[in-house]
């Protein structure tokens, strides 16, 4: 784990970090084609699964895994919390509840926790990463109604029109299939 300057905790996948170092070292010595592949892999699009305040909905995880499989993309998990004191609890939760099922599904995954103003932190995250192919809202279902946002003052609304892709929130409609998905 590494603490970055701009008030965030960055937890990087160790394989990814190794690749980055390997690439940097290799670029100077041998500009071979294989390095291009690695760089391409590192900067590819991802499914961004967005959580806030340590709230994780199971269906968003299941849906994200299916979507990632369908689009053949890795998953990036971003947890936004309001203050630094919640970071370690959130980190523990991410490891326990999210990383294992995603890795078991053999989908590439990276995770990051940011604290502070959530809208700002999300924009900063998007600015420092390549645009996600889609964003899945993974937290509080009360935020989501069948007709759309139920909380017009939710911080995500501040970002209307600023996001590069849609945000989708899955809501369970069939418990039997959901159960099968969870078992699978």
């Amino acid at each position: 784990m590494q603490r970055a300057r701009s008030g965030r905790i960055l937890v990087s996948n160790s394989i990814e970090a190794t690749y980055r170092l390997a690439c940097l070292a290799s670029i100077l010595q041998q500009p071979s084609i294989s390095i291009w592949g690695v760089i391409g892999m590192l900067r590819e699009k991802k499914i961004l699964v967005l959580f806030e305040e340590g709230i994780i909905r199971g269906e968003s995880l299941l849906y994200s895994i299916e979507l990632a499989r369908r689009l053949n993309l890795p998953i990036a998990v971003l947890m936004l919390v309001s203050d630094e004191s919640k970071v370690f609890v959130a980190e523990d939760l991410l490891v326990r509840e999210l990383m294992e099922p995603i890795e078991r599904a053999q989908i590439g995954v990276s995770r990051e926790i940011r604290y502070g103003d959530k809208a700002t932190e999300l924009l900063k995250y998007l600015a420092s990463n390549s645009s996600p192919a889609a964003i899945v809202w993974g937290s509080d279902q009360k935020t989501v109604g069948r007709l759309g946002w139920r909380k017009p003052h939710h911080w995500l609304n501040k970002l209307a029109g600023l996001l590069p892709c849609s945000i989708v929130a899955p809501i369970s409609k069939n418990r039997v299939i959901k159960q099968k998905l969870m078992e699978g």
Binding site: P31, K45, L162, K173
Partner: protein, 467 residues
């Protein structure tokens, strides 16, 4: 449509005849054989790339399109047949020649059945290799020529499927820009078909007989991007053993498609601006300008205007690119096209899989219509292809569709700036404002609102306002 990390190019039949414009991938886990074949191919003037393993070959196939793939059949973990399938999936026109030291009739039949052009046995004789490579490339060239003739005079809009007003508007814009040589900026979410539109624009332009080169700006680090686009001179850096022209030079006279242009670094923006303004470029390590004539079609899923305001994207480059703007709708915004698009993808998958389908059951189509498609058309295409692979034939039923489409309802949040508010939203905002004015005193707020405290509590509970 192409994935991150890809660089694809489409060549006219004319340029296919030039060996320098033919890109060949050689895959072999024996280093000596790999080097020898590379040297043989380069001696003939071909652009040869090598991969020492199946994994490396698959990575390269993601990045580039190749005219010809020469692959060993037996590799460490991924065999030649898998590479054959991947190459054909990426570009059906790519020809594949299987090479092996362990020739057998069975594997030869299997390879040709899967679409290999030919089968060569080790040790490779140069004359035989040249002969097979030339014939394979000639076949590829002929296929391109036939397609060109078949499409001649048409608007090349056959892949732009749909009759919704938004789709018709896009077709109309492309049709109107036919005589123009101006640069184009295509905006739209990931998976909306930006590259497809760029190709359609190229195919109807005066440059249609020249190269179309697609490049994803987000996929490469800056130094590597510069090297790939502008080429380099000998000794420009350690390992640069000879002068190599860049992709922009190879597309001279044609069209270059820059996908995800919003991710381009400031230094790269300056270099591209120079190419547009001065119609020349500098190879890495050189101060001698090389003239180039290319039309640029750029695409992004970001709001470039906002990036300009934020100082992230150069305003002059933005104006140079945004001469003609094409905004592509999300699939959510053109839902009425879903049945036509689904049938289009189903027919294409059925042809490839040699199956027959009547269409979709009402329930299956209902599920397709009610889904939000964050991955847009690309996602619909994947869903239909998966269903076609699972179904035996006849109709696509709901159980052939991914389980999450049946398990979850998806709500998409995408409110455009300045969208009209609902009555409920205005009520919520007003309650919030009154509460604030009343210092969050609910009794006072209820009095101002003209409702009793219980009603206010009920509303607050429904709206889930934070205390």
């Amino acid at each position: 449509m192409h994935e991150p990390g890809e660089c694809m190019e489409e060549q006219s039949a004319k340029s296919d005849n030039d060996p320098a414009s033919c890109r060949i991938l050689i895959v072999d886990d024996e280093e000596t054989a790999l080097k020898r074949m590379k040297s043989l191919m380069e001696n003939r003037g071909y652009e040869a790339h090598t991969a020492a393993s199946g994994e490396q070959a698959l990575d390269l196939l993601k990045i580039h399109s190749f005219d010809l793939v020469l692959t060993d059949l037996i590799l460490d973990s991924i065999d030649g047949l898998t590479i054959l399938a991947a190459a054909k999936r990426k570009s059906p026109d790519t020809e594949v020649v299987i090479i092996t030291a362990y020739a057998s009739v069975d594997s030869a039949i299997e390879a040709t059945r899967k679409g290999a052009f030919h089968y060569l046995q080790k040790p490779i004789r140069p004359a035989e290799l040249y002969n097979v490579a030339e014939r394979a490339l000639e076949k590829r060239s002929l296929k391109a020529r036939v397609r060109e003739l078949e499409l001649g005079g048409q608007t090349h809009f056959t892949d732009i499927v749909g009759n919704s007003p938004k789709t018709q508007a896009v077709r109309s814009i492309i049709e109107r820009m036919r005589p123009s040589e101006a640069n184009v900026l295509i905006t739209g979410e990931s998976g909306t078909g930006k590259e497809l539109i760029a190709r359609a624009i190229h195919r109807q332009s005066k440059r249609k007989n020249q190269r179309f080169l697609a490049f994803n700006c987000a996929s490469f680090a800056d130094e590597l991007l510069a090297n790939e686009l502008f080429g380099h001179v000998k000794d420009a850096y350690t390992g640069a053993s000879k002068t190599t022209p860049g992709l922009l030079e190879s597309a001279d006279g044609g069209t270059v498609f820059f996908d995800e242009v919003g991710d381009m670094s400031p230094s790269m923006q300056a270099k591209i601006l120079r190419v547009i303004q001065e119609k020349e470029l500098f190879r890495v390590g050189s101060s001698t300008p090389v003239p180039v004539d290319i039309r640029i079609i750029a695409a992004t899923n970001k709001d470039l205007k906002k990036l300009v305001e934020a100082g992230i994207f150069r305003q002059d480059l933005y104006f140079r690119l945004n001469v003609i703007a094409v905004k592509l709708p999300t699939l959510e915004q053109r839902k009425e096209d879903i049945p036509l698009l689904s049938m289009f993808f189903l027919k294409r998958a059925a042809d490839r899989m040699e199956k027959n389908f009547d269409g979709f059951s009402e329930e299956a189509m209902g599920l397709l219509m009610n889904y939000s498609y964050p991955g847009n058309i690309r996602e619909l295409e994947n869903i239909v292809e998966r269903a076609a692979a699972l179904a035996q034939g006849g109709r696509i039923e709901s159980q052939d569709l991914p389980p999450d489409l049946r398990a979850f309802e998806t709500v998409a949040f995408r409110r455009d700036k300045g969208a009209m508010k609902t009555l409920s939203e205005i009520e919520e905002e007003y309650i919030q404002w009154v509460l604030k004015q009343a210092g969050y005193n609910k009794t006072q707020a209820a009095q101002i609102l003209g409702i009793d405290r219980v009603s206010l509590y009920r509303k607050l509970k429904r709206l889930e306002f934070d205390e």
